[in-house]
Amino acid sequence: MNKVIKNKNSETISFWYDPDKRSLVYQIGAAFLFAFVAWYLVSNTMTNLERQSIATGFGFLNSEAAFEIGESLIEYSAADRYARALFVGFLNTLLVSFIGVILTVILGTFLGIARLSKNWLIKRCAAAYIELFQDIPVLLQLFFWYAFFYEMLPSPKEALTPFKGLFLCNRGLIFGIPQEHPVYKYMVIAVIIAVIVIFFLKKWAKKRQDLTGKPFPVIITSIILLIGFPLLCWVIGGTPTDMSVPILKGFNFKGGLTISPEFAALLLGLVLYTAAFVAEVVRAGIQSVSKGQTEAAMAIGLKPGQVLNLIILPQALRVIIPPLTSQMLNLTKNSSLAVAIGYPDFVSVAGTAINQTGQAIEGVLLIMIVYLIFSLSTSAFMNFYNKKMAIVER
């Protein structure tokens, strides 16, 4: 009683009823609980590791891997170190994600537009595709395509040839590529230079249009530059036309480029699955721009191309890009399912390393760190994009 009166007089509150102090107590409690659980797990782990005499730390990265990897972008042999093996896996993950993302965006955009087509048949087909591929687990789809390559396709001797120089058989997809020549390296550099030139050209053109009102045909010039620069390189380099064509020798093909069944199945499964989700994203984006926008743009005299470029796309993209990036990230994360069909991606190589060294904690930690880097850089990009694209309200 006395206490309550005293509180009232001095306008202070008892300790427990002060929200600030109370939240402090909660937080200290939570921190202690967390620390206790962490300590408990770590101490258990330490005893277990000691008992099973498993080494700790990342020292194993420097020891010999002693296992082969089926596919590699860089030179690798079983005598190399674990670090290099993991790097091979990392590059494979990057490769399949990169190609997968490009194909997914193309296919998804087509499907999304088809989903809104005025043609009843196309609309229905796109809708059926989206529903079907969204509702089947991606792992099952991967297994299906893997079985498709290994069981349903013929042997190299009876390989299917839908086009001349392209073979489809249970050894994968084999096709001819240009014979190696130093010119191709320079052509790649030429493309990069063209992109840089176009970037500055676009800036300059916009500046000039803002100042003088004169438009500059940026798109046509860009296309000419993109094709022209490498073409020029090729002509100067002596127009090499030799092709490396696959030829059946014994039980397999020699020459050309072979895409392994594992890679093809993984890519096919991931692209077909993710494209169904991207299609929905694209559809929602296009539908989000109200019809009045198109009509208003046409009313002020813009041409159809300009309407699309200046009015529709900027608004639709603002809706499309955020969920699209998260789908791209999903594709990258789902590429870890490669381990199930034997494509040597990062998770698969790390899994082998875990089995060989027994250092499970380090292995799982490495996997998590790699994927966290992917997702954190994506979300950093997203924040940047959202800030740039946010509608400036007046």
Binding site: N44, N119, I136, L140, K333, S336, A360, L376
Partner: protein, 364 residues
Amino acid sequence: MELHAENENKVIIKPPITSIGIIGWMRENLFSTPFNTILTIIIVSVLWISIIPFVKWALINSSWLPDANCRGTGGACWSIISSNYKIILFGFYPQDILWRPVTAIVMLVSLLFISRNRNFWNAFLGYSWLISLMIMGLLLKGGVFGLEPVDIEKWGGIILTLLLSVFGLTAAYPLGIILALGRQSEMPVIKTFCIFYIELIRGVPLISLLFMSSVVFPLFLPEGVSINGILRAQVAIIMFTAAYIAEVVRGGLQGMNKGQFEAADSIGLNYVQTMRLIILPQALKIVIPPSVSVLISAFKDTSLVVIIGLYDLLKTTQTTLSEPKWMGFSAEAYIFIALIYFVCCFFMSTYSRKLEDELNTDLE
């Protein structure tokens, strides 16, 4: 009367035959422009050349009876399903007491069916869910009322898939709500911890968590204690799903009007009361459709446990396929389980869309 007479004299002009009926519909929807006509023709021909052989393969030349000899018929071998459906659907569950999992699944499906109708959503349904889940567990596990006990290790096929997804979501939902509330909280320590957890889990693939459950979790436990693989995978799935649920629930919390919090404060409710009585009932209602999407992904994602060697629907199918007799019939087997997954997911997604329409109270 007069009106009628007048009408008789009028000539009623019908719309031209080309713009009504089936011809009109086709003109408008299939052949409206030359471009559309070309597209229609292409699609029809593609469908024609792909569907005819498929129908021949799947229906006409196929064998359906168990233990039929399929080799060399040129058609689908559905016998792989009719001969092995018990293994594929129920794994190594003792075959003479399959009535128990069947009853459990029937219970689950009928409960889901009842729950479809929003008029039945009340406390009673909630309790029946809890009780039924317990009964289902007892039915599967046995050991009471004279039921023969069945080791959890033997639960396989669709039982495992359903167990992982249903229990995964039931346990992940409360955890997700707590995480979401933590993320919205004003206490920095708790907020940081929740953000850290959610972003960490959402940033890594489920497979890394499953790896963790199979190789790292055993190290966490004190000496002599071990948990079986299914429960460890279940924990990983719960941890994973909870992070996604948390983000969904956060969306609902952020959608709440500030006035609701202020009103609750002004009538003197404390934090727990505010959340339990005012905020969560409204916020959770908004997020029902996205929660169903999380359920669908969780259901599909349970198939990943095949990678750590658990006998879910996918693994039992692969076991069947590895028998010499059934080697080479992957397409049939995979199509069969794809159909199971598709039917389940399709119902869920249709339901979520229906619910979204019902709950959408916006004025058009």
